[in-house]
């Protein structure tokens, strides 16, 4: 499958800006750099949309625009948390007003399929429309849906996205689980050997196509997910199996994009994999660009696609001897949901 275009609303303004100087953050969370939405969406509609809907719809429209596609053959999103701001608004009002005096708007926009539905509504697109909500597999399953649908011969392309937002309440709640480090910095995220990471968010869309075209960003050669590996050996076995299925050896990989997030326990598995199975393979960690969140895999694919298309890496990355031709993405969420993507230059 070919990645014809990729767009992101993320804590980074653009890939171009990352080539000059990636945006840095301190504290325990990263925030999306939001564009002027009026260029993308009818101002009358913007007023009714919550932040995640605006981010999702804008990234989707930008992605279609870059691909030169007006109507995609499928719209498929992944979101672990869904539309949190609307969910919280309805929930707190329901509790606060003892189930009286409620307004339907936030309920209507709280359903997990809202972003995909709003894209369809805006485009008047009657095609296939689906939403996956499985934690750290949400985006990966959306992508698998797109890939298997295209393989089935249903449509020529599919718009696939990963969308998750941070709200003040959700950040407060997730913080209570001890996930974040209070005074962290993206500049030193991986170096401190401490517990906790930085919270992240993003809206990333890819236009996946069964056929090659001239402006393609990358070729998605393969993908694989695995759930709750019991040991580091199991992770390495899964990764070796993935390489074998794609007829490639570890030394053929020019760049690994890895999901380390600065939490010592979380990062141990990435280090083990790199040291034992991919020794000598250059790698780039990406969570200091986007933060840690369940659909961050989408950001990694966006990043990998841009690196392959331009042959360039973000300014803070170690230089490679030559523009990479094969990129392997390895990401995991809480060591429960692991995902692998193999990308090639087009």
């Amino acid at each position: 499958m070919y990645i014809r275009s990729a767009s992101a609303i993320s804590p980074q303004l653009s890939f171009q800006q990352m080539l000059d100087a990636p945006e840095g953050y301190t504290g325990d969370r990263l925030r999306c750099v939001e564009p002027d939405y009026t260029a993308m969406i009818d101002p009358k509609m913007i007023r009714r949309m919550s932040r995640i809907i605006k981010m999702g719809v804008s990234a989707a429209k930008d992605c279609l625009g870059k691909a030169g596609v007006e109507q995609p053959d499928a719209i498929i999103t992944g979101t672990a948390y869904g539309c949190l701001a609307d969910t919280e608004a309805f929930l707190s009002r329901m509790i606060g007003f003892k189930e009286e005096l409620l307004n339907p708007t936030s309920f209507i926009q709280s359903t997990h399929n809202t972003v995909a539905a709003q894209i369809a509504l805006l485009l008047k697109c009657h095609q296939y429309n689906n939403t996956y909500v499985h934690r750290g597999f949400s985006f990966e399953n959306a992508l698998l849906d797109a890939v298997t649908r295209l393989r089935e011969g249903e449509g020529e392309n599919a718009l696939v996205g990963g969308v998750d937002e941070i709200t003040d309440s959700s950040h407060r709640l997730l913080s209570r689980f001890g996930l974040y480090r209070a005074n962290a910095s993206t500049a030193t995220l991986y170096e401190t050997g401490e517990k906790g990471t930085m919270n992240g968010e993003g809206a990333v869309f890819l236009l996946l196509s069964a056929n090659a075209s001239s402006g393609d960003y990358a070729w998605l050669e393969g993908m694989h997910t695995f759930y709750k590996p019991a040991t580091g050996e199991e992770v390495q076995k899964e990764m070796a199996g993935f390489l074998k299925n794609n007829n490639i050896a570890a030394e053929d990989i020019d760049l690994m994009i890895c999901g380390d997030n600065g939490d010592t326990k979380n990062d141990k598995i990435y280090q083990q994999v790199r040291n034992e199975s991919f020794a000598g393979v250059p790698y780039l960690r990406f969570k200091h660009y986007c933060g840690e969140y369940p659909t961050a895999g989408a950001f990694a694919l966006w990043l990998g696609s841009h690196i392959l298309k331009t042959g360039q890496l973000p300014a803070d990355a170690e230089k490679l001897p030559a523009p990479p031709r094969k990129v392997l993405v390895h990401n995991h969420s809480l060591n429960i949901h692991h995902s692998l993507f193999l990308l090639s230059v087009c």
Binding site: E99, L121, N129
Partner: protein, 398 residues
């Protein structure tokens, strides 16, 4: 054309029964599941179709702790029944997936948590929040079933679990999986009840789908799962599967976030697409399990789409939501189970409480229970908020 994927097992729990057998009995007796709230706590006096077991009883059936979300408990009960009924001796040699769906995950517990959290952000028991995400219920059940090779959760409002069933079939057909337990669940929550109440589409009486004087829907809860198997797995089964998923389609109405278009564009496209995928003509369908929520808007949109697609060859049809209420993320899967039973036993389910047929429509849903009919192809409709429309076709395995 799609090569059908065999269905080896089914499990279901809803207001009309805790397993498949109890459902068949309730259908035959015409006993609906709506009533006053027993377990759901709300200030509103509205009929709901609750599963007639408390969480402690469900936990015993599920083999899971009683303090977790009712969503996970309902899901586990039906998924376990489905897997056991498939008669697979051992799933470990096969690549097995669990593909579920729901709309509000562990919201039943989050509601309790949030009331404390609103008073003080440091308060609220985290164990009531930890399974909030839609995917969390799926994982509790996947772990209970010992399924690991593929796990996913879909959420497209009321069409959610119809999508999980065809996604499972596609993963099997393309060789990703050998066995998939696929379906969906939703437990009743105050969040959903109040949400639908603000939309003013809840019936204060027992709902009357496809009736001229219909007033709205009754919310229900439940879970349904099918076990889909590859041809290789099917060949190992003692009992030959009676039914297969032969067609499916997903389309979007792209009209309004919650309302269906008057001509039911999305519904029409979903049904038409499913027929094409199955290589069937409208006249081949013997029974339609309607989405039939009982709202003014859904039933006219769905009815208009059926009128356009089936013209003068109307199959028998009914809305089993007149028994189970609308189980939202569970409904597509519950009705998939009922469709499979219709093929296996030749059932036609009654559309309860139908008094005055809709005057805009040239057909009338069935009002009596029938069994032993020669039913070869069943169409099941699931349409939801966000314009998400899905139709499944189940066919008898000859």
């Amino acid at each position: 054309m799609f090569k059908p994927v065999c269905i080896a097992g089914a499990g279901v729990i809803s207001a009309i029964g805790n397993d498949v057998q109890e459902h068949m009995t309730s259908f035959e007796k015409g006993e609906a599941g709506m009533g006053a709230m027993q377990y759901l706590q709300s200030v509103h006096e509205l009929p709901v179709a609750e599963v007639k077991l408390n969480n402690a009883a469900l936990a015993r059936l599920a083999g899971l702790p009683a303090h977790i979300s009712r969503t996970a408990l309902l899901s586990a009960v039906a998924a376990l029944e489905a897997l056991i009924s498939a008669g697979l001796q051992d799933i470990t040699p096969w690549r097995t997936g669990f593909i579920s769906a729901n709309t509000v995950g562990g919201m039943d517990k989050t509601e309790d948590f949030y009331a404390d959290f609103m008073k003080d952000p440091a308060r609220g028991r985290l164990r009531d929040l930890v399974h909030h995400e839609c995917g969390a219920a799926t994982e509790l059940v996947a772990d209970r079933l010992g399924i690991k090779n593929h796990i996913s959760t879909i959420s497209t409002a009321c069409s959610s679990s119809a999508n999980s069933i065809f996604f499972a079939a596609r993963l099997i057909r393309q060789g990703f999986l050998d066995i998939a337990v696929a379906g969906g669940v939703d437990a009743l929550t105050r969040f959903t009840l109040n949400g639908f109440n603000t939309l003013m589409i809840l019936d204060k009486q027992h709902c009357q789908p496809f009736d001229e004087n219909r007033r709205g829907l009754n919310l229900g809860e439940g879970a349904g799962y099918l076990v889909l198997v590859s041809d290789e797995v099917a060949a190992t089964l003692q009992e030959k599967p009676a039914a297969a998923l032969s067609g499916f389609s997903n389309a979007n109405d792209a009209y309004h976030q919650t309302a269906s278009s008057p001509d039911g564009t999305g519904s029409y496209l979903a049904m038409k697409g499913a027929l094409e995928k199955a290589g069937l003509a409208p006249g081949d369908i013997d029974y339609i399990n309607l989405h039939g929520t009982g709202t003014a808007n859904n039933d006219i949109a769905e009815g208009t789409a059926i009128k356009r697609l089936f013209e003068n060859k109307y199959p028998k049809m009914s809305s089993t939501k007149s028994f189970t209420g609308h189980t939202l993320g569970g409904s597509g899967a519950l009705e998939a189970v009922f469709s499979v039973l219709a093929l296996k036993f030749g059932f036609i389910y009654p559309n309860l409480r139908l008094e005055t047929p809709m005057k805009e429509l040239p057909f009338v849903p069935e009002t009596g229970f029938q069994k032993g009919l020669p039913i070869r192809h069943v169409l099941s409709n699931s349409f939801g908020f966000g314009g998400n429309c899905s139709s499944l076709i189940f066919s008898k395995v000859e």
